[in-house]
Amino acid sequence: MQVKFLSKGTTLIVSILGELDHHSAEYIRQKVDSEIIKATTKNIIFDFSKVTFMDSSGIGVILGRYKNVQKINGKTSIANVNSQIKRIFEMSGLFKIIPVYDNLDIAINKM
């Protein structure tokens, strides 16, 4: 499991590579939160194109970061979600508050 960051102005693109479960959640949380604290970051886009597995632990991780950027009036979105993971997000109602886009270009444009 690996987390990669790319900044586009005040938007931080977070790419998660590998499995997002309870075991990896704490690492992802710490990594992303220490980036959010930096003055340059306001919005977050989660790139899910390299996520090979996710269970309900992922919902908590995304919602937690959403709340953290909301405190600095930032926005959160998700891009490149496969159908299995999309089902999990849909069940939780997460898409009602966090938009999902087919690819990164669209997500960046909508920020």
């Binding site: 269970d55 632990s57 999990i88 069940m91 939780s92």
Partner: protein, 146 residues
């Protein structure tokens, strides 16, 4: 009905065993040759039940989690047990968005995910002695073949 194959696995309640358990279950079930999507459903449901045993059943203590799989011609039964604290109110626990650990960023969707990805989920639990989750799934891709 007699199972065509069975297995039992026992492992410590450590979080790195979450991926071990779901990969082991998927590898065992793959004998039946279900679709990749059906395998992904199994992996996700197993991950939910095992994670619950670790974070809720045992909390910060260490104990053993037991996973049993029985294969039938076109279906599987998986049970995941812990000898942890048990569930006081099963009906409440199964409700979507109910979690006893919101401070740990849990979303309360584990049982809902299991129910959606499997055909049937049974919860057997006793306070202070443990919990068993039994899950059943018929592989639709195999049903037509037999």
């Amino acid at each position: 009905m007699q199972p065509v194959n069975e297995m039992e696995l026992k492992f410590l309640s450590k979080s790195n065993n979450e991926s071990f358990a779901r990969v082991a279950a998927a590898a065992f079930v793959s004998q039946l040759d279900p679709t990749l999507e059906e395998m992904a459903d199994i992996k996700t449901a197993v991950s939910e039940a095992v994670t619950n045993a670790i974070i809720h059943g045992y909390e910060n203590k260490v104990g053993f989690v037991t996973m049993r799989c029985s294969l039938y011609a076109d279906s599987v039964e998986i049970s995941i047990s812990d000898e942890g604290m048990g569930i006081e109110n099963i009906e409440l626990a199964r409700q979507p968005l109910y979690t006893s650990k919101p401070e740990m960023e849990r979303s309360g969707m584990g049982f809902t995910v299991m129910e959606n990805f499997m055909d049937r989920v049974e919860v057997i639990s006793q306070l202070n002695s443990g919990t068993t989750i039994k899950m059943y799934k018929t592989f639709k891709s195999l049903k037509n073949k037999n």
